[in-house]
Symmetry: C2
Subunit: 205 residues, 2 copies
DNA sequence: GAGCTACGCGACGGTAGCGTAGCGTTAAAT
DNA sequence: ATTTAACGCTACGCTACCGTCGCGTAGCTC
């Protein structure tokens, strides 16, 4: 089975064996189309047959690279974990505002906003998916966590601040608007979040 | 087709026509089993065949009452819109704390916590589902909205406060923990939310 | 108790998906 | 240029689901 080799290649860069061009091409093509389908139809709406149809890669070939549909899906999900830029130049307040503005922006445009609910749904029943989702969430929350830690280090906000809690307080309301109440993210809301967080974290309490 | 009659009966209570016992029983049993399956397998995991199997009601009979799978699903979803108790006795702070404690509790136990992501996912692609979801969210957010309005009326918090924004700020972080970061809802988090909201809504700014 | 009507049952046609098998072809590696 | 490995293609068996049809039966209403 091809998986071990591929995994090894992915994780260990030391492995300098040349990889067959065809393999590389197949993998990237399939993953790309899987990602597109994922965004379009959600986690449970992706079928191998459809991927084969669109990508031009034969279904049998796909199964030569991924042992099962779920594995391919999980692999494609990793493409969602883009590295976000982390502002570190300003004060806690300006950094936070910038991050949240970015998030609000991405919530309305980016593909992952359409996919995430389907992943959350799958997570409720499949532990492997849940693991990936938790990982992704860690990545997406990283900017907030980072600027909190930096601000603590600078002595700008209260020491001992739980960055995860701040992430929940900052991102939660935005996510709520996008997926639960399905309302537009008001700039006023964003402003309130930033202002209140700053106040609660800088006051001596 | 039986649907018009049933719908009419459902909406107009004035219609005192006796309803066939068999019809009533079929409807309730099917809905109950649909609900169970919904909670167990999510919106997209429910099949008519499985409902028929479990409920003992013939598939043909189910189709005599609901024209399509989606309609049945939507009907079953309405069972999720339970009426929540709304505390109105205390101060804004105590009321809010109680509501959020309830929500946090329900997030960890109740069935809808397992279903909601699947509904959100379906909402991304099906406008009818989205409509139902928005309605459900309105119901679930009602307690928060209510105590905000009451507190405004009492002059306890700033007039002109946007109850929807407060709902997002209060519920968002809890939802975030349950579905996105998949972390336990820390009592400290709950405390921070309540305290900060109260401060930001009572201060003269 | 007669008549109506909802129900159960078995079967059907059609679609879609998963994952596998065999075989011939092509193109990369050396 | 030869070898070797990946690929495409067709077809398959299997399962699951949707929604429908016809017919006989059981049970409710009046």
């Amino acid at each position: 089975m091809a998986i071990p080799k591929l995994t090894a290649k992915g994780t260990s860069v030391a492995n300098k064996e040349r990889v067959d061009t065809r393999v590389e091409r197949t993998r990237t093509t399939v993953l790309a189309h899987t990602y597109d389908l994922l965004v379009q139809d959600g986690f449970s709406g992706v079928s191998i047959d459809e991927i084969a149809r669109r990508s031009g890669v034969a279904k049998t070939t796909i199964y030569r690279h991924w042992p099962t549909r779920t594995r391919l899906l999980l692999d494609a999900c990793s493409k969602l974990g883009v590295n976000l830029e982390i502002p570190t130049q300003g004060t806690f307040e300006t950094d936070l505002r910038q991050v949240l503005t970015d998030v609000a922006q991405r919530l309305e445009n980016a593909g992952w906003a359409k996919v995430l609910p389907s992943i959350m749904d799958a997570s409720e029943r499949d532990p492997d998916v849940a693991k990936v989702q938790t990982l992704l969430q860690t990545i997406w929350a990283a900017p907030v966590v980072r600027i909190v830690e930096d601000a603590v280090a600078r002595g700008e906000i209260r020491p001992g601040t739980d960055a995860d809690v701040v992430a929940a307080e900052a991102l939660g309301p935005l996510y709520y608007r996008r997926w639960f109440s399905r309302q537009h993210i008001d700039p006023a809301l964003l402003d309130r979040i930033v202002t209140n967080l700053c106040r609660s974290l800088t006051d001596a309490r």
